[in-house]
Amino acid sequence: MPPRLDTLPKGHDLPATTFELSPEWVGEYVAAVEDEAIGALGPGLVPPMAVAALAVRALLERAALPPGAVHIGQEMTFLRAARIGEKLSASARIVSRGERQGWLLMGIDLSVNGDGGPVMEGRATLTMPAAEGAS
């Protein structure tokens, strides 16, 4: 059971996790988001937001979201196109953490790398009810 995100301090590194952009998973993702544009660019390319989704999934495997957590902001830079079949590694670090009026605000940097070099980097901002003794 991963620790709850709201119990983790600023500077905490979430362990890296690896995953593969399998044809099956990419197909499921493309169907789920109805992305008709990526196929027009040619075979083998992965929607950049799919990589971001996997980075978020990696985060959720390493830190559980508390009830009531809400994603309020997102920044991301796509450094190169990812291709079907690539093996990638995602990691995350808590870079900010503050509490105001009973709500916790956390910034989490995400990065995704592969054998061909960095694929994406970004920052997610989340807010959640501050648990007593968690801040």
């Binding site: 993702y29 988001v33 109805e34 992305d35 660019l41 937001m49 989704a53 996997l54 902001g73 796509f78």
Partner: protein, 130 residues
Amino acid sequence: MTSPAVGTELAPVVVAVTQEKINRYAEAGGDGNPLHTDPQFAAQTQFGGTIAHGMLLLAYLSRMLTAAFGEAWLSGGRLKVRFRAPARPGDTVSAVGQVLRAGAGRTVCAVECRNQAGETLVSGEAEVRA
């Protein structure tokens, strides 16, 4: 790719959001937060019902930007957004964009997702090498 002129509107992406689509995204994205998939749980939250994942709305923006800028979006694209309001099952979401600045090899667009009432759900900027 030629840089589009300032003021150019990108071809919008319009999607009817359903609970089935939200569930499908939850499975594909691995985000099973009950706020998105469990109507009984979601009814007890501040939202009063299930809402779409923020990352699903960003996927619609990304589809629009892929269609507009091709591989320039996939390699070198940047996005910075705030989530302003939730998309709910039954909403029709439009991802829209307009070129704000162009030059020095970069094009910056204002981007938004809106619902059928014109309410802004997501807003921010996207930048590409174009």
